[in-house]
Symmetry: C2
Subunit: 361 residues, 2 copies
């Protein structure tokens, strides 16, 4: 059993109440009791996704539905917007799924430029675009509204937007912005354990799926819709996480969605202020910095491995020492989930206490 | 929250201790603490699967890896052995995954005949066979050893064996019997909540997967193997269920695997005796009857819906009133998981109390 608190950018710390909700006894997934559970989540899910489309529950991590979206929607070719570890990987996953795909690549930490996206789409080659809204690996949040405005001019292009680490952190009005497929996972800002993915699919995307062969079954959007209409999932679902979701939705609406957004923004601001006060710099430009986590350049060249390790061992808090090729060059601090001014102040205070030991002398 | 005990054939009743294990705090899935958890399960998993091959943990229901197996292994054509709702569906799922597939169909409740399978395979058309060992929809257990003996004569045919409701109930020595892919789910005899699938893959199957395009990422066997070697999973795993698995494996080896098999056989025998004493009949022939659940013909033409409903409402026990087209014509009683002589005697006693009310007059 771990003896430290998670401030990595997911999985994040899970509250005792959420674990308690997960321990609600399971029922048969074809029973009326399951239908009642499934349907009780829907009104809150629709409000949170800001959509009239159904919201599906997938027993998988987000990668399952990221691959599934490619298999459901691609007739011609996918354009993958690439700006970090997860968005880069989507190109590879698309090709492994037997689809033609190109990348629109920028350096890690940079944002996707809406004008450049427009140029690419103007070729007429593409019928699907993938975008990671908030690149968790780089702490960079793409300008989604501007990107969706570009996509509005390409009606045959279906948009698939990964909001794994931005969902419920900032407003993402799915219907207003014209997002076709929006997807997220349970273990980031929703502060549940991993194992459940959520997605909402537009009529346009269903119409596309109807024309695509080889969608399979497990992630088939039309199968999700057919079962949704009965208040069920296509396959046996991860019921404990649906109990946890129901609890989490109640908690979110008790706090208020706008208040939740403001809280994340405030807590994120505390981290930004700390970063600046120490002489560190954020990896992305400030205007594209994520509101849910901070990816900090190791411009002071501290002994980052030692810092992260000591924080965990002595102070019982785990932050991240850099993802993939950014290991040692950046560190990442999450302010997702149930964090408060007090818990973030505690984290920053603990980092303050040990940081001097790891500064280059 | 439900107020009844599950005796349906999955999900089955989950113990408080298992829920407690699920509430062990989650960790980062790329951390050494996760590696330690993953690796601590492996020796027991290998013993339980009776294999030297790796055992993978898939964050999905069994259908995910059933579809994944088709995508990983099929170059030519799949032969689906069809003898109930789940095995029948595998043909449809194979075709939806863009693969050519035929069915070897028998009536629901009948077993797959090894001689007939040999005839079909002799055509040389097939390179994958799917079989549901224990058809949960019909309470019928196929003669797996005899079937594997047939498959031994067709070395280019990869076997995919679903043991969703027989795993840990009867001995299934994977390596000895030459099973290529064996898969199961968490919510049947393992008595965990749904959301985790387990599978073990042979060298022959990996070699085949290396030759197959379009495997994708989420269920890619080679990706599972690559991550397994680091003590990890390809995507963020459903960590609470891995904690529960670790607990469950300890419990199984504390009881003893042979003792566990014997217990299931004994409890199943109690149900069979009850069935006979009432004048009911099992759907399958006795020698092919499942050891984990009993599928009982409604030959006495009782008001089955009323019986099942009253048992749940008055006696707080849920059994199943028939799957799919068998609704009303059969009922199913599980003896999977943590059941004991006492709990089964209680169930049968409660059924005795109310049954007379629903007999045809």
């Amino acid at each position: 059993m771990i003896d430290y608190k998670l401030h990595i950018p997911g999985p994040v710390n899970v509250s005792d109440e959420t674990y308690q909700a997960m321990s609600t006894p399971v029922m048969g997934h074809r029973s009326q009791d399951f239908v009642a559970l499934y349907q009780s989540c829907q009104p809150n899910l629709k409000k949170l996704f800001q959509t009239e489309d159904p919201v599906f529950l997938s027993t998988s991590s987000a990668w399952g539905v990221m691959e599934g979206s490619i298999r459901n929607l691609t007739k011609k070719k996918v354009l993958c917007c690439m700006c970090g570890a997860f968005s880069d990987k989507w190109l590879d996953v698309s090709r492994r799924s037997g689809k033609e795909a190109d990348g629109l690549q920028v350096d890690w930490g940079r944002n996707i430029d809406p004008g450049e996206l427009r140029n690419q789409l103007s070729s007429g080659q593409y019928d699907v675009v993938t975008l990671v809204h908030n690149e968790t690996s780089c702490g960079m949040m793409n300008p989604l509204l501007e990107i969706m405005e570009v996509l509005r001019d390409f009606p045959e292009v279906i948009s698939v937007i990964d909001t794994v680490s931005s969902f419920s952190v900032v407003p993402i009005p799915k219907d207003d912005w014209g997002i076709d497929v929006i997807l997220t996972g349970s273990q980031k800002a929703l502060a549940m354990p991993p194992g459940l993915a959520l997605l909402s699919v537009s009529e346009r995307a269903f119409a596309r799926a109807e024309q695509v062969e080889g969608r399979g079954y497990y992630f088939d959007f039309l199968e999700f819709r057919k079962n949704h209409e009965k208040g069920m999932t296509p396959s046996t679902p991860v019921i404990p996480l649906i109990h946890a979701l129901n609890h989490t939705l109640d908690k979110i609406f008790k706090e208020g969605v706008e208040e939740r957004h403001q809280r994340h923004s405030d807590l994120n601001g505390m981290v930004h202020a700390w970063v600046e006060s120490k002489g560190f710099e954020l990896l992305p430009e400030k205007q594209f910095a994520s509101k849910s986590l901070s990816c900090v350049k190791n411009n002071l060249e501290i002994d980052l491995a030692g810092f992260v390790d000591t924080l965990r061992r002595e102070k019982k808090i785990s932050i991240d020492g850099g993802y993939g090729k950014m290991k040692g060059k950046t560190f990442r601090i999450s302010n997702m989930g149930d964090e408060s001014t007090d818990t973030m102040a505690h984290l920053l205070g603990q980092m303050d206490e040990i940081l001097p030991r790891f500064m280059a002398s």
